[in-house]
């Protein structure tokens, strides 16, 4: 029994293993007799190919854990590609610069402010339950002036670093700061609207998805559907760094993806923020009543999602040497699929980032295997759809649950008299369930 339970608990990893075994067993073999699927180059190709969807899926996991959804990630990613491409190839106050630079300054201010206030307050001995902190007497010096000064200092630093770069072209470190900051703000706006208007995240992020597509197209300009980036001619060569192989071993996009998984896994598992995320996903009202700052945590979750989406946008530009407003079409669905395959519940409160990592890898390996076997593109889509359904079925239910309807059917056949009663009950419970839907 314990073996079975262990199997059931780790079934996620078994799925990954099965895919790997299938890949190895059926892989085409190169002329020198090497297994192509297993070759190191091929596996790093997979890691590189999944890292853009993967980064977005990491943010999506956090959002789904608080029982939200973020449909805007594709558009936000595309906005990131447009910002990156224009900042890399054009100088002066383009519309990208007018958006990205103030965004970075604003985020720098907010980050320093919050961090210093958090540390300053942490120095004071605290006691009592969670809510007690709020009731402590407010101290304008501790809560306002000192953090504010720190915020202004960091904002000034960032401004001093970024503004001179506008006249030339943005370098890679500056891009890696300014573009994700813009995404962070976009995500925070989504979150703020959801929280302030008490609206469904589905609708708000849907609106954001449409709006960001328009904004990307406006930023790109009327006459350019695609913004090409040629490292060495219209952009600096540094951008090549973001798709190179690190020490010849690890593709840089993969490094970003794995780092994001590690950082956010730590954030979710080890910090108070992480516990709050699970608490809110489990039962938002209960979380609110127990003094958890639900609104702030929710805004933060959407902000992280936006930030990771734009970060993925930078990597997209580095990888494919172009930015375009429709780059991320359908990305949100890939990300959601990966999260769900990874065992995170769309109802929130249940799941983990390790699952998302596995989900992303399962998807990437599957694409790779189908591609290596030269399967027709249309058929590949059918396979992908099937694999989502199968893995989610295995994830969400135990085998016993799946077999239950057949068992009841058999029981009903054996006792025909009891059947009407049973169906009647089922009907009423269905109505009851519908009635309690929020």
């Amino acid at each position: 029994m314990t073996v079975l339970r262990l199997l059931s608990r780790t079934k996620l990893y078994w799925g990954l293993l099965v895919i790997l075994l299938i890949g190895i067993a059926f892989s085409p073999v190169s002329g020198s007799g090497r297994n192509i699927f297993l070759s190191y180059g091929n596996l790093t190709d997979v890691l590189r190919q999944v890292s853009i969807t993967g980064l977005v899926a990491v943010g999506m996991t956090v959002v789904i854990l608080i029982a939200g959804i973020d449909l805007s990630v594709g558009s936000v990613m595309a906005f990131g590609t447009v910002l990156t491409a224009t900042l890399l190839t054009e100088d002066g106050w383009t519309s990208s610069a007018t958006v990205a630079v103030p965004a970075a300054i604003l985020v720098a201010f907010a980050a320093a402010f919050l961090l210093v206030r958090f540390l300053w307050r942490g120095l004071r001995p605290q006691a009592g339950p969670v809510g007690a902190r709020r009731q402590a007497a407010r101290d304008p010096l501790r809560d306002g002036w000192i953090p504010g000064a720190a915020g202004l200092a960091l904002a000034a630093l960032v401004a001093a670093w970024l503004v001179p770069q506008i006249d030339t072209k943005f370098g890679v470190p500056a891009l890696l700061l300014a573009v994700p900051c813009t995404g962070l703000l976009v995500g925070a706006v989504s979150g703020a609207i959801i929280v302030a208007g008490r609206l469904q995240p589905f609708i708000v992020t849907l609106a954001m998805m449409v709006g960001m597509l328009g904004l990307s197209r406006l930023t790109a300009g009327q006459d350019s559907a695609v913004l090409p980036v040629y490292a060495g001619t219209n952009a600096t060569e540094d951008i090549e760094l973001l798709r190179s192989m690190l020490w010849g071993v690890l593709p840089v996009p993969g490094l970003f993806f794995l780092a994001a998984v590690a950082v956010f896994a730590a954030l979710l598992r080890l910090t108070v923020f992480g516990r709050y995320v699970y608490a809110i996903g489990g039962n938002e009202e209960a979380a609110r009543l127990s003094g958890i700052p639900v609104d702030r945590v929710k805004i933060a979750a959407y902000a992280f999602s936006g930030m990771l989406a734009t970060l993925a946008g930078i990597l997209y530009v580095a990888q494919y040497r172009q930015g375009k407003p429709d780059a991320g079409a359908g990305l949100e669905l890939d990300a959601i699929a990966a999260v769900v395959i990874g065992g995170t519940s769309l109802m929130g409160g249940r799941g983990a980032l390790a699952g998302t990592l596995v989900g992303v890898l399962i998807f990437g390996l599957l694409s790779n295997i189908l591609q290596l076997h030269n399967i027709n593109s249309n058929l590949q889509l059918v396979f992908k759809g099937a694999i989502i359904v199968v893995t989610v079925l295995l994830q969400e239910r135990n085998l016993a649950d799946l077999l239950a309807p057949f068992r009841t059917a058999r029981a009903a056949r054996q006792a025909p008299a009891a059947r009407t009663e049973a169906t009647g009950q089922q009907g009423s419970s269905l109505i009851h369930r519908e009635g309690t839907q929020p």
Partner: protein, 323 residues
């Protein structure tokens, strides 16, 4: 911060954003023109369509007597139908339309013809013959031209040998099938040519072609030529080969020949050749003006293709102000 403050701040931030962006999307109409010509474009998100719009706008600049109204169908049939209905209600003097698809737009084209508006169908046809004129390229002819080029590049007729990767555009689109059929009608006659992939579609996109090529490079140790159904896909395949260090042993051929894309890549030696798929923008407007001036126009005009190679690429770039 309470909820209401938050809402206010958000609204303010959004408002500021919109004000910032409004000037970019705002453009006043030209005053006082003799003729108003409506142009319904299917989408402006593809580079070829962008070039199409550039061509038609450039032509309109040369004709002060014409006011050109452009509507973007945003890649949606229903939006394009609404655009055309809008033009009919505005009683434009002539209608140019580049339909997103044939079936969905035939009805509204009929409606325009019933309203006595001359209709010029550009690039993709509709299921009626009552229009005034159709102007477009011929993708089968282009496919054949690619086939001839490939056979010549790999050894000449009768003795061409090599492994070819063909990267498809969208599998559900007619141009992709035409470009493939024309190509195979020539290339299949060569016994020495081997086709490595089975209908692998990158949906006209550079990034998807990159990924397909990455895997193909792992899978096949000898690839001699890549035929992309458009230039961005051929270029995406080139980038993948370059990252694998194998770009020197492979020739890349694309289609479309846009000045700022394919021609640039050919000029740099990254693509071996591209084949022009001309936009009917300039010719369409010229024909409409011709008709409005009382002249007769032909029922169908097929725009010719042209091979763009290293020899003529610099000149084309110069003509487009990119040299």
């Amino acid at each position: 911060m309470n909820r209401r403050d938050l809402l206010k701040t958000t609204a303010l931030a959004l408002g500021a954003g919109v004000t910032l962006y409004l000037p970019a999307g705002w453009r006043p109409a030209r005053a006082a023109a003799k003729w108003r010509i409506g142009f319904s474009q299917a989408t402006t998100l593809e580079p070829w369509r962008v070039q199409f719009n550039k061509d038609i706008k450039a032509e309109a600049e040369k004709h002060p007597e014409v006011e050109l109204l452009i509507a973007d169908g945003e890649d949606k049939t229903e939006k394009q139908v609404a655009d055309v209905e809008n033009f009919i209600r505005q009683e434009v003097d002539a209608l140019l339309i580049s339909p997103k698809e044939s079936a969905g737009l035939t009805g509204v084209v009929d409606k325009a013809i019933d309203a006595k508006i001359p209709v010029f169908v550009l690039d993709r046809n509709v299921d009626t013959k009552r229009y005034t004129q159709f102007i477009g390229g011929d993708n089968v002819v282009i496919g054949k031209a690619v086939g001839d080029f490939v056979v010549k590049a790999l050894g000449g007729p009768g003795k061409a040998t090599g492994n070819i990767v063909e990267i498809w555009g969208g599998l559900g689109t007619q141009p992709a099938h035409d470009r493939s059929d024309g190509f195979h009608s020539v290339a299949d006659k060569e016994k020495g040519l081997k086709f490595l992939l089975d209908k692998q579609s990158a949906d006209w996109k550079q990034n998807l072609a990159y990924d397909i090529m990455t895997t193909a490079l792992r899978n096949f140790e000898k690839i001699d030529l890549v035929y992309g159904h458009n230039d961005p896909m051929a270029y995406g395949a080139y980038l993948a080969a370059k990252d694998a260090g194998r770009e020197k042993e492979i020739k890349f051929v694309g289609v479309d020949g846009l000045p700022n894309e394919g021609v640039v890549w050919v000029n740099k030696g990254e693509l071996a050749a591209t084949f022009l798929y001309p936009t009917p923008g300039a010719e369409g407007l010229r024909q409409a003006i011709k008709l409005l001036n009382g002249e007769k126009v032909e029922k169908t005009i097929v725009l010719p293709t042209m091979a763009i190679t290293k020899e003529n690429a610099p000149e084309i770039l110069k003509q487009n102000g990119l040299g």
